[in-house]
Every structure is written in C-alpha cells, then in structure tokens.
C-alpha cells in the first residue's frame, strides 16, 4: 500500500524528523488560506500515487497566496498517470543548500532491511544506482540489532563534512528506520533530504510503501488507505478477497493462483491476444468469489471474451462451476465465455456447466486459443 506524501511526512514528523511546515488542501480556497498562513513563497504539490508528478505539471512554485490558489485550481482534478488529483500539499518554498537521498528498503538479495544514502539527491535513485553507483552508499541492517549508531554515522559522513550535520543526519536515519519498522514498511524514503543555508537538515519529500501483510496488525496505518486514489475495480476485488490488476487488453482472465494467472496472460499474448487483466480468485474459492470476479471483469468494457482457467487442487472445480452458473443467473452475460477446468471434481463441474448450457474444456492451450479468437472476432 502506498501512502501519500502528506501522510508519510506526518509519520516522519511524529517520529521527530524535521519536516517543513505545510498543510493539505482539497480546494483552491483552502490552498490559498494555507499559503497565506505560511506567509512565504510556497510549492503546491499534487498528492497522487504516481511518480513523475513534477514532469506532469503536478508540482508548482507560487510566489504568493493568490498564485497558490491558481496553481491549486489547475492541479486539483488533473489526471496524472490515470489518477485524479484530489488533494494538494502546500509547503513553504525551501532554501536549499544541498540535496541528498535517504531511503530504507527490504532488500531481497541480502534478506535484510538496507539503508541507502546518496549525496546525489532529488533525482530518481534507480537512476543514480544505474549511472553513478559510486554515489550510492548502502548498509544492510541486521534486524536483530537494528541500525547501529556507528553505521548511521558512517553513512552520514558520506553526505556531509560538518559534524553537526553528520549528527543530524544520523539521528534522522535512526528516526526513519523507526518509522519504517513501525509502519511495517517495504520502503521509506526521504528524497531530497536537504540542508538549508543555515545548516539545518530537513526532509523535503517523503515516500512510504507499506507491506500489505502488515495492515492486519496496524490499524492506524491501514486507516491511511485512500481508496479514492485507487482503481475502483481493484478496490472492489480486494474487498472480495480477489487479487486483480486492470490492464489494457480485451481477453478477461479469471484464474486460480497467481503463477497460473500470469502464465495464462502470457499464453493469451503468445496466441496473439491481449489480456485485459490479472485476476487470481485464490485457493479456497467459494461460488461468491466467482460471482464477484465475473462482475469485475465484465465491468471492463474493453473485455471482448472471458476466459476461466482453473486447475483444481484445493480449489474445487465444482465450486467454480457453481459460481459461473450463479453469476450468469444474476447478470446478463453479454460476452462469450471460455471455461477450462481440470483437477479436483472436474467431472462434477463439467456436468454442472453442461446442464446450464456451458461447454467446458480441459486443455489450457485450447481454451486460450479459443478465447483469443472470440475476442478478435468481437473487435
């Protein structure tokens, strides 16, 4: 789960990290009021779960409150990578002496949290890692012992010469690691971490990504979820216990298991089609889940054919068959459907489907080819 910048900076601030003033606004009036209160030049920043906000025109400098109002008017409601901007953050325009990068991630290779700093801040850190790796400094944290003070100091010495700034940065690292742990993060990032001409070290922008598996035990973090900032079908899928990702193709896919779902999408592509989505109905699938899945897939008007690919293990094929029959009883299915079922209770399932007027295949390649063909014919 992604947090908005304004949410991330609130967590940083609560942990003691120095963050410039600033507030969120949902209307141009509010933005103007915030800017007036701040009483200086401000930056108006779109709050959406998308990178490249600046390039998209979602981040704008305003010399005064009236200008801030104008920028907010432009930015609110704007679409950035398909997401509508519902909120802007209004912050004072900072005086910047230097820009650095500071981040903590869970690193798959070392199987540990890794803290990274770079004196090349303010740009995408992947780019730094790719182009100037000598400017990226990493320490793998032993989670049994935490981020040790001398590790933070050593990293801070890579950023600054001044001992005061080194100590400030080392303290911010400890605080950021604490936020990362307390939020159940898979990433916590300050980019840029700036120094002001007065020598203060400040977090100018913040990004936190939370491990979804942490949400059950962290209700205050889970409460930060902003469903308005997500695709509504994906929200509905999550609520129904399904895993769904919307794509641009025309073959709607409903599969049990994530690996098989990806392989099915790939096979659609292999046979010349385009998958409309990733959808995993999960292991212990009830008919209700199948109903929800069909509802979500058919809502996508790009979908021209629907493909079920079920390998029954724990998933019982008859459950899926019943779900299909149930769903098509509840809604008018206006697009062709291809069903492939094999494994547990396969025979039972085929009988259920036949009675309801559906045909069922047992071979994956055959089913995919048919679904692709149907979509192409409909287009």
């Amino acid at each position: 789960m992604n947090l908005h910048e304004y949410q991330a900076r609130a967590l940083l601030k609560a942990a003691g990290i120095p963050v410039p003033d600033g507030e969120v606004a949902t209307t141009p009036d509010e933005a103007e009021a915030v800017a007036a209160r701040l009483g200086s030049a401000v930056v108006v920043k779109a709050q959406v779960h998308a990178g490249g906000r600046g390039k998209a025109g979602g981040v704008k400098l305003a010399a005064n409150a009236t200008e801030a109002r104008g920028h907010a008017q432009q930015i609110l409601g704007m679409r950035i990578k398909g997401l509508v901007v519902e909120r802007v953050l209004v912050v004072p325009a900072a005086k910047i002496a230097s820009e650095s990068y500071l981040g903590v991630i869970v690193d798959r290779a070392s199987q540990r949290p890794v803290i990274m700093v770079s004196p090349a801040g303010g740009v995408d850190i992947e780019e730094v890692a790719a182009k100037t790796p000598e400017k990226l400094f990493r320490v793998a944290i032993d989670p049994r012992f935490g981020l040790l003070p001398h590790q933070a100091m050593a990293l801070a010495f890579e950023l600054y010469d001044d001992l005061g700034q080194v100590r400030q940065a080392a303290t911010i690292m400890q605080q950021l690691y604490r936020v990362f742990l307390d939020a159940g993060g898979s990433l916590a990032e300050i980019n840029p971490l700036i120094t002001t001409p007065e020598g203060e070290v400040l977090a100018l922008d913040a990004k936190i990504v939370v491990d979804d598996n942490e949400l059950a035990r962290r209700s205050s973090i889970a409460a930060l979820r902003d469903v308005t900032a997500e695709d509504s079908s994906e929200v509905e899928a999550r609520n129904a216990g399904l895993s769904y990702v919307n794509l641009d193709g025309n073959v709607g896919c409903c599969v049990n298991g994530a690996g098989l779902a990806m392989a099915t999408m790939d096979l659609v592509k292999y046979y010349g089609g385009e998958p409309a989505n990733f959808l995993d109905i999960g292991g212990s699938s009830s008919p209700e889940k199948v109903v929800a899945a069909l509802r979500i897939i058919t809502r996508d008007r790009n979908v021209k054919s629907i493909l079920f690919n079920i390998f029954g293990g724990i998933t019982r094929c008859d459950d899926v068959a019943n779900g299909i029959v149930q769903a098509t009883g509840q809604m008018k299915l206006d697009r062709p459907i291809v069903i492939r079922l094999t494994g547990t209770n396969e025979d039972l399932a085929i009988e259920i489907l036949r009675k309801a007027g559906f045909e069922a295949l047992t071979d994956m390649d055959e089913a995919v080819q048919q679904a692709v063909k149907l979509a192409q014919e409909a287009a």
């Binding site: 290779a109 491990d211 059950a216 895993s243 990702v245 994530a258 690996g259 999408m265 390649d365």
Partner: protein, 289 residues
C-alpha cells in the same frame, strides 16, 4: 531417494484442528505421509481423527513423538511464531504453507533459522511432495507420479499444470517443491538445485520462476557452474506491467528490475531450455535428454 522428505519423514502439523490444517492432514495421511502429531494450544491430550495425538506445544509433540519435520497451517498472525516454535525444537525441516507473513518478520526469522541450521520452505508455498513417499503441504497427490524429474517452483497451480503435463506424458517426479511466492523465503532455487544435483534419483530438473527479484538470475548462474543435469525453465509474467504486485507478494517488477525478459535471458545464457508455454515442458525435456 528424494529431496528433503521421504519415508523417514515424521510430521507434526501446526494448526491441525483448523479448517485448512485438518483438511490437508487428512489428505497427507491418505497419501501415506507419516503424520505423528498435531499442535493446537488448548487441545493438548485430544486426538485428530481418533489417531494423531494433539499437543499444546510443538516442544511436547516433538519430545513425545520424535517428529523431524513440521508443517504450518496456522493463520497469518500466528505463522511467524509457529516458525520460531518449530525451529526451537530442533526439527530439521519446517514447511510454512500460510500466506500473509509480514516480510519484516521474515528478515528476523530467517536469521533465527540460519543460527539453528533449520531449513524452512515457504512461507506462502504449496509445500512439497516426493511421489510415492510422502507429501508435506497441499500439492494434490493425484496429479503426481513417481519418477525422475525434480520440479522447483515459486508458484502453486502453475506448478500443478506443469506436473500434470509431465505425469500425463509419462514423466514422473522425484520431488516437487513449491518454494513460495513471497519476497523473502527460506529455501530458494539454488538450495533446491543443489539438492536435486546431489540426488541420484533425479535425472532432470524443471525450474518455474516468475517476475520479481533476482533469484532466477542467481539460480541460472548456479546452473551454469554447478549443475550437470538437464534443466528446463519457465518464467511467468511476461505480460505483467511494472510496479504492480501480481498476486504473490514477491511478484512485482521494481523499477526496471525483476522482469521476465531479463530472467529468460539469464536462463538462456546459462544453457537452460526455456518453455514458451507450460505445454512445452515435455518436448524440451526430451530435447535435453
């Protein structure tokens, strides 16, 4: 022989009275796995299916029954402690089926396991099966056949699909291992490749990867330098968009890293035959042998 489990496996089931635990315990017993004990706190002294003794703690179960392997079906919020509890008893293999273990918990638990030399398979995995010998986890026994192909995979049903292709074309399996779809897992491809290479009953290896991380790339290097047996590979997720989690917590392309393309390229560089479709597995195995 087989890998990690066999006829000497004595299994303790953590969460044996739960919905999933009880269903799969029945399945494992039917398959012939030697389930010697179950654990559910508060149900110590009872019996599962009038046969398997239930204990309050894994420690009691192991000391009473000599269990050497544990399988975990407890809910996500108890799963990481179940791993610690099993590892603390000295069982040499822990298989965690449960999905939803926070990855930060795993960073610590993996170090705990490493200190004790305990092997973990999973979490968020279907477990493993050595056809004709034992099954620990949830892989459906009826799709497997005894034989000489080692299968290792990050996914569940996709693995079943490929096992099904193998079995229906007469290729039985020595052991099939689902290592799990999470970003941090206890046993990775290389561990399994090493075991299959050393296993005299395994003649060829099928490796099924997916997008996210670089485990497949490292495994490919390992194959090139350490594996003499034929290896056939598959990578799921060629059509997955970057930055989106495809079901599995670990199946995500981060920035430009973890794509199917780079994994397939790594496989090819290492001399691994790569399937374009799951149905290609048999043809490629025949080509390599």
């Amino acid at each position: 022989m087989s890998v990690f489990i066999d006829k000497t496996t004595k299994l303790v089931v953590q969460g044996i009275t739960g919905r999933d635990g009880s269903f799969h315990t029945e399945q494992m017993r039917e398959y012939g796995t030697n389930v010697v004990a179950g654990v559910t706190p508060g149900k110590g002294g009872q019996r599962f299916a009038n046969a398997v003794p239930i204990y309050d703690t894994v420690a009691e179960a192991v000391s009473d029954t000599g269990a050497n392997t544990a399988v975990i079906y407890v809910p996500a919020r108890f799963a990481v402690d179940a791993i610690y509890e099993a590892a603390d008893t000295g069982v040499h293999l822990v298989v965690c089926i449960t999905e939803g273990v926070p990855v930060l918990d795993m960073t610590r638990a993996l170090l705990f396991l490493a200190e004790r030399g305990t092997r973990l398979i999973g979490p968020n995995c279907p477990g493993l099966i050595s056809p004709g010998k034992a099954k620990v986890g949830i892989i459906p026994g009826q799709i497997c056949r005894e034989g000489r192909i080692g299968v290792v995979s990050r996914s569940g049903t996709l693995t079943y699909e490929i096992i099904h292709q193998l079995s229906s074309h007469g290729y039985g399996q020595s052991t099939c291992i689902g290592i799990g779809g999470d970003p941090l897992i206890g046993t990775n491809f290389i561990d399994c490749l090493e075991a299959f290479e050393a296993d005299p009953e395994t003649e060829a290896i099928v490796m099924i990867g997916e997008i996210g991380g670089t485990d497949e790339q490292q495994a490919a290097e390992y194959v090139a330098t350490h594996v003499s047996k034929p290896v056939v590979g598959f990578i799921a997720g060629q059509t997955a968009p970057p930055g989106r989690r495809m079901g599995h917590a670990g199946a995500i392309i981060s920035g430009s890293s973890g794509t199917a393309k780079e994994k397939i390229a790594a496989f090819e560089r290492a001399g691994i035959e790569v399937m374009k479709r799951p149905a290609d597995v048999v043809a490629l195995l025949e080509k390599r042998s």
